[in-house]
């Protein structure tokens, strides 16, 4: 046993040495240069996949920003983030169609927003009508209530007990399992879509083919991220959130209301998740397991950017999105999650505090 322990220690020491050397050689600027080179190469060589990667990444970014905000303010990894995103997508589906699963058959509650007059008439080249937008707004409200309610019910109690980060994260895993089961019970395991039928792709400069839906997705995602940026860096509320994330005790000493900061964190996180979930379901089929599959790229993005740094999460998500999509040109699409995993491992080995993380 003793030799085993000694071997383990030696290997660990060796790994730490490699890590230190790699961090010294690469550093933050090296990492930026690497990402820049990767993007330029992808934009030249795999234009189409690169653009799709940016779109996927922009949706991931909304989830990653929420994840990183929650980490920064509440100091735990919210493993229920992906499943909450799915909850948002399913709630929007329900508002739109009024469908739930009962006795292995889809039954309608009799009304969906899609039944409103003209609600499913397509807006321009988009695949949806105004009913979808209403349903998305409804999902955002539900997720705000869900997130804030869950905090009151679970996480606030853990805070009062001064529980460790492990307890918080374990509670989040429990929430994730419960959520997924609820989604399965209410809407069943089969893939769902908001709209049947195919939308055409249009040709854009440089031979890029895009659906109008995809352009809409990108614009909404980037717009939402921009709104969060303005809130965090230009408003008193946002500054107090950043201050709290920086130094909770000093925030308290300055008279910043801790409960309010935490509540707003969940509100912003909830809205972002609803938007991300709905946009995601516009691109892909909705499945209960999708939330769990998203967890890896979300964490990879947040850690790559530097946990707690929203601007980092945004950049990190674009990188993860592009890498995942471009990898399809070389490997089977089934390896996409592996790409996120490789990014995660590399960043943890080379620069665990990420692009925007600081040493202090």
């Amino acid at each position: 046993m003793a030799t085993l322990g000694a071997t383990y220690d030696r290997i660990r020491g060796q790994l730490q040495d490699y890590q230190r050397v790699a961090a010294g050689v690469i550093g933050a600027w090296g990492l930026w240069a690497l990402i820049g080179a990767l993007f330029i190469w992808a934009a030249v060589d795999e234009r189409q996949l690169f653009v799709i990667g940016l779109i996927v990444g922009s949706v991931l970014a909304l989830g990653a920003i929420g994840l990183t905000l929650i980490y920064g303010i509440l100091r735990f990894g919210n493993f229920a983030h992906g499943d909450t995103m799915m909850l948002g997508a399913y709630v929007a589906f329900f508002f739109l169609t009024g469908l739930v699963k009962e006795e292995r058959r889809d039954t309608s509650i009799g009304f969906g927003l899609g039944d409103l007059p003209g609600a499913t008439d397509r807006l321009g080249d988009l695949s949806f009508g105004y009913g979808f937008l209403l349903a998305a707004a409804g999902a955002a409200i539900v997720l705000i209530a869900f997130s804030v309610g869950l905090d009151r019910l679970v996480y606030r109690k853990l805070r009062q007990r001064k529980s460790s980060i492990v307890v918080f994260s374990t509670a989040a895993i429990g929430v994730a399992f419960a959520l997924r089961a609820v989604l399965l019970i209410i809407w069943g395991p089969e893939p769902r879509t908001y709209f049947a039928g195919i939308t055409p792709k249009n040709e854009y400069p440089f031979d890029i083919l895009l659906k109008t839906n995809e352009i809409f997705t990108f614009l909404v995602a980037v717009g939402s991220a921009a709104v969060v940026y303005v809130i965090l860096f230009r408003t008193k509320l946002g500054k107090s959130m950043r201050a709290y994330s920086d130094n909770p005790e000093l925030a308290l000493v300055s008279g910043i209301n801790t409960d309010r900061v935490i509540t707003w964190t969940w509100v912003i996180g909830g809205v972002l998740l609803a938007v991300a979930g709905v946009l995601l379901a516009l691109q892909a089929n909705l499945k209960p397991e999708l939330g769990f599959e998203l967890l890896l790229p979300l964490f990879a993005a947040a850690i790559l950017g530097g946990l707690g740094k929203p601007q980092g999460a945004f950049v990190g998500a674009l990188v993860v999105g592009v890498c995942q999509e471009v990898s399809v040109a070389y490997f089977s699409a089934g390896y996409k999650p592996a790409v996120a995993f490789v990014i995660l491992i590399l960043i943890l080995l080379i620069r665990p505090r990420g692009l925007f993380g600081s040493s202090t």
Binding site: K236, K239, S240, R242, A243, D246, N247, E249, L250, A251, L252, V253, S254, G255, I256, N257, T258, S358, T360
Partner: protein, 242 residues
């Protein structure tokens, strides 16, 4: 026991405060009083409970028995955000700025509960700390130790406190920098803010303050006029290393 100065009115009073961490009591009934516009030092050896006393007064640690009054109002065990609006500001010894916020944002956070007059107050504070003006949009993490301490003081002044609690402002600074910080503290006090100063550097603290309290092992040991304490052979032998 306590010495009456020219009484301008009491702003802060702690009576027989008992507090501690976990099961252990650190303070076993410490009392002190700060008059309006006065500057009071709390000195004592390491582990005497000086910093703990400030935290208990400010509501960061639960007061297990005893009372704290601010301008006659009982603020015992009020939360820091409730105390701060009543005119008490606190500068912790370490981690006393928001490193990833700019200097300006740090000051805005100091004025978080302030509803109006933030701009005027900013001008006043920048006038007091001219070194910070040119760097207002830089991140606080880029500041040197002394500049950080100035920013921490400036942040605490944003609410026009009646009493400023300072926890070892000269710790880990060069003697020259420490001297500058003490100069600023004297200026702040001169403009009417009462100061309760906890210091390791007892000689410097006493030569700056009106009165002083000497703590040891969580209890009041001595108190009196600062000059008297400086000349007191007991204090000299025990804490001033003379």
């Amino acid at each position: 026991m306590s010495v009456d100065t020219a009484s301008k009115g009491l702003v802060l009073e702690a009576q027989a405060v008992v507090t501690g961490y976990g099961e252990v009591d650190i303070l076993h009934g410490v009392s002190l009083r700060v008059e309006r516009e006065e500057m009071v030092a709390v000195i004592g050896p390491n582990g005497a409970g000086k910093s703990t006393l400030l935290k208990a007064i400010f509501g960061l640690l639960p007061v297990r028995s005893g009372e704290v009054f601010l301008k006659g109002e009982d603020v015992t065990n009020k939360r820091p955000d409730q105390v701060v609006v009543r005119g008490l500001s606190y500068v912790p010894q370490v981690d006393n700025v928001f490193p990833s916020l700019t200097i300006l944002e740090n000051l805005q956070m100091g004025a978080f509960v302030r509803r109006d007059g933030v701009r005027e107050k900013l001008d006043q504070v920048f006038a007091l700390f001219p070194d910070l003006v040119g760097r207002r949009s830089e991140l606080a993490r880029r500041l040197s130790g002394g500049q950080r301490q100035m920013l921490a003081l400036a942040r605490a002044l944003m609410l026009d406190p009646d009493v400023l609690l300072l926890d070892e402002p000269s710790a880990s600074l060069s003697p020259k920098m420490a001297g500058m910080i003490f100069e600023r503290i004297a200026t702040i006090n001169g403009s009417g803010t009462a100061v309760l100063l906890v210091e390791q550097n007892a000689r410097q603290a006493l030569s700056l303050c009106n009165r002083g309290y000497v703590l040891a092992t969580g209890m009041n040991r001595l108190d009196g006029q600062a000059r008297g304490l400086l000349e007191n052979p007991d204090v000299g032998r025990l804490y001033l290393g003379a």
